[in-house]
């Protein structure tokens, strides 16, 4: 488990270095992710320890954005007025997104 976590954090650090070093608008962790993906595709195998840690992260990704999401307290007054509009927009938009993505997959070979 430690080894997997270490690999992830090293790539995270590498991504942050590249992102700030070259003043890129792409977030450091995403660059780290792309670098790790490149390495994994070249190696054609995933370290089992890395696979375990990554699976745990994927499974509980939602836990990690609870602290930021709780900040919604400061938006409660404005959401009181616009909450339903926001929910409606998100519902229609996600429905369109699913449908369009699926249609492209269906129509192209």
């Amino acid at each position: 488990m430690i080894r997997g976590l270490l690999i992830l954090m090293l790539f995270q650090g590498l991504g942050e270095l590249i992102s700030t070093g070259f003043a890129l608008s792409i977030p450091g962790p995403v660059i780290g992710m792309v670098c790790l993906l490149a390495v994994l595709l070249v190696k054609k195998e995933v370290n089992p320890d890395l696979a375990t840690v990554s699976a745990a992260f994927s499974q509980h990704l939602g836990l990690l954005f609870v602290p930021a999401a709780v900040g919604v307290v400061s938006f409660l007054p404005v959401l009181n007025t616009y909450g339903w509009a926001v929910a409606l927009i998100l519902l229609i938009s996600v429905a369109i997104t699913i449908t369009v993505t699926a249609l492209v997959l269906r129509l192209l070979p």
Partner: protein, 242 residues
């Protein structure tokens, strides 16, 4: 009574309090989610957010004090983002010759996601603070929050929109794809992963392993594309919307 108060003041000042509260709230959310038979509407993250909110209100604890402790969990968002590379690498052999088509579907879905939400937001007269976070709502939350970092767009609303989008997508997907007659599990999963990221992906895994594998690949690829394409487009989008 005074002693109790002193103990409370001491405990609530520790990072431990926020950490335990967050983990406990999420654990309760997970239990309820499993107990409901993994109903998308009974979402563990939404439940955790509501529980933490309720506790903060009752305990009269300012958000800043809570976040001071909870930031240790928040920090791991970056690490979790890097971990998204693994399911893409594991699923890569499944993609075979379909990569161009999948990328095209992703670009179409991503564009439609931003366009439809922005247009509807303008039509319904959302204030700017609520309108702008819509641009990243179909990108997985850890990456979406990275994209808006330093742009003045609220990471909080970005996360909230992402969660709601995930829940709504996971609930509606079956009816939409049945209506257009799509039966292929891989393609169904891919469409859900593009539109409804993490929550959609876990829904896809609970329905069929192929759907889950393609959903997690879709979520990862959409995250990369969003992180590369959205920041340069942001000034332009902001000009259109505000």
């Amino acid at each position: 009574m005074n002693d109790l108060q002193e103990i409370w003041v001491y405990l609530s000042g520790l990072p431990l309090f926020s950490l335990v509260l967050t983990l406990l709230a999420y654990e309760i959310g997970l239990r309820l989610h499993l107990w409901s038979g993994r109903q998308p509407l009974v979402n563990p993250v939404a439940i955790a957010i509501l529980i933490v909110l309720a506790v903060l209100v009752v305990a009269e604890m300012p958000y800043e004090v809570y976040f001071e402790g909870a930031q240790f969990i928040h920090f791991l968002l970056g690490t979790a983002t890097v971990a998204l590379a693994v399911p893409i690498a594991q699923g890569w052999p499944l993609l075979k010759g379909r990569i161009p088509v999948l990328l095209l579907a992703m670009l179409a879905g991503g564009t439609v996601s931003i366009a439809s939400a922005s247009i509807l937001g303008l039509l319904l007269g959302l204030p700017d603070a609520l309108l702008l976070p819509l641009v990243a709502k179909s990108v997985t939350a850890p990456i979406a929050m990275g994209i808006v970092d330093g742009t003045g767009i609220s990471p909080t609303l970005t996360a909230i929109y992402a969660v709601l989008t995930g829940i709504l997508g996971a609930i509606s997907v079956r009816y939409l794809l049945d209506a257009i007659g799509m039966r292929n599990w891989a393609d169904r999963g891919f469409a859900l992963g593009i539109a409804a990221h993490g929550i959609g992906t876990s829904r896809a895994f609970s329905v069929h392993p192929d759907a889950g594998a393609f959903a997690s690949i879709a979520m990862g690829l959409h995250g990369i594309a969003g992180a590369i394409l959205i920041p340069p487009l942001l000034p332009w989008l902001r000009g259109l919307l505000v």
